[in-house]
Symmetry: C2
Amino acid sequence: MKSSINRQWRLASRPVGDIKVSDFEYRQEPIPTPKAGEILIRNIYLSLDPTHRIWMSDRPQYMPPVEIGEVMRGLVLGIVEESKNPNFQRGDLVSGLLGWQDYALITTGNLPYITKIPQPLTVPLTAFMAVLSFIGCTAYFGLLDIGKPQAGETLVVSAASGAVGSLVGQIGKIKGCHVVGITSSDEKCRYLLEELGFDAAINYKTADLSPALAASCPNGIDIYFENVGGEILDAVLTQVNLNARIPLCGLISTYNTEEPLPGPYNFSQILMKRVLIKGFIVTDYVSQWDLAFREMGQWIQQGKLKYQQEIVQGLENAPTAILKLFNSEKMGKLIVQISEQP
Amino acid sequence: MKSSINRQWRLASRPVGDIKVSDFEYRQEPIPTPKAGEILIRNIYLSLDPTHRIWMSDRPQYMPPVEIGEVMRGLVLGIVEESKNPNFQRGDLVSGLLGWQDYALITTGNLPYITKIPQPLTVPLTAFMAVLSFIGCTAYFGLLDIGKPQAGETLVVSAASGAVGSLVGQIGKIKGCHVVGITSSDEKCRYLLEELGFDAAINYKTADLSPALAASCPNGIDIYFENVGGEILDAVLTQVNLNARIPLCGLISTYNTEEPLPGPYNFSQILMKRVLIKGFIVTDYVSQWDLAFREMGQWIQQGKLKYQQEIVQGLENAPTAILKLFNSEKMGKLIVQISEQP
């Protein structure tokens, strides 16, 4: 028998610098009841991503910020618990921005933003959080559509052991690139080299970055998949090849700062080397997601695309779990398990 | 009877900060005599461009720097004085990187880099310096291939009364854009509005840039053709629309500095607004120049593309003339006349 309580985390205050647990407020609400045309979803897995830090702020951004007092936004995989809509049945697996809560009521206006997960499953359900979701599509389209990798080219990826970075590097290998990952510990370097098949890995916390890049990229850098910003971007810009491409996916090194940060000091290299930089958000590609899911699903089944997850148990732990995104503690995809999967 | 002396300006030292006249060395050499397969060109017009400052330095750049002691590089329009090559005849008009000198000897290896000007002329000869050359192609391909202007979009161009900027704005008008120019004096603003048909013009030396841009661009900025860098780029980035394009043509505000300069403080807007930035050099498009020359030639004949020139008389004045590029003194294309045109 299901509980009658809908636990929620709401945004209590906009973070100043690092996120604090007190920026979230715990609330208990009654579980809502769907009206005609609506569905009620029981949330199972909540994805925690660096972009949450952007949504919590009111800086200019690509979606409206989460308002103070609103349920915190988050990508969730859930199961239809009750349906008053003929297109959904109890037991359907779905994903969408269902928020940091036990249950989500989807009104008719929001149904278009809910994606059904095809059943029977051909890959583990958690693969839908780690790969076949925003995460995988971010890696897939950023690298393939903007990076346009050619066999033999050199691809560098930052935050390389992270959810997106680890997929980018593996897709780069599938496309025949020389792949170099930049990450934050020797353990993560070993993971990239031994588990994911990267050609080289650099621990930016201990290495001298420019010479390390030069040693790992003897033919220069053709593609830099950017998740971080700051000094790493500057070091890369000194070693880019003519017509290099930089898919700009994230700038996590800048999200927790309050003061204005300078852009790359080597900005003029964009001119001299005719570099392309393109910011993108995965939703730009929504019409092509199916294609990406099909191809990445095959790569998972063929063992070409591996993923690692850290699953934190319990919605109550979400505000402490999200801190791991910013302190280099976790590896792979960070997920909160809210309820049992079927 | 032609003189027997070939006057030359050679690079004497790499500028520290602003160019100084003493960075050039005056030399007199005998006029060379072409051997079999070679041609001798009498230089008529020398184009002075901001990119000269880059060539004079040894910073990383898109061509080899000019070596100390070498004849200073420059785009020249000239006339074949003597030909030992069946493909060229005395009297042919040609252009190429013929240097700051009275005469250029073109050896067989360098002939592919010499372009013949089709005769009879359909536009004034000076149009080949101001429009139908590197200058026009830079504006044409940077705006059309990278900027991809659509009717109704807002185009902002910096250094708007300069050789390239003034063409970019006019081509933007031909394509139906709302065109806003940023320049350095009220006189230049009047020129953009009254002579070239820009929709708005901003004197960045007296205006408060961000509010002035907001007032001139009520629908935001779709394309920013960048010649300058620095604070102007930062102000533009706060007002770009989703999927804005920034053809990166030049960064003249940074060329004379010695210390490392920060990139744009609003770099994260590239991510949030999914901006495309692409550095380019006109030689990237060499295979399509003919197409551009044909179309721009028609626009000149139709009166749709106007150009202004400041012609400095005498090769001896080239080292003082080039300073005008960096002190906001000149308007339109800066040219040195070396000898009489036919």
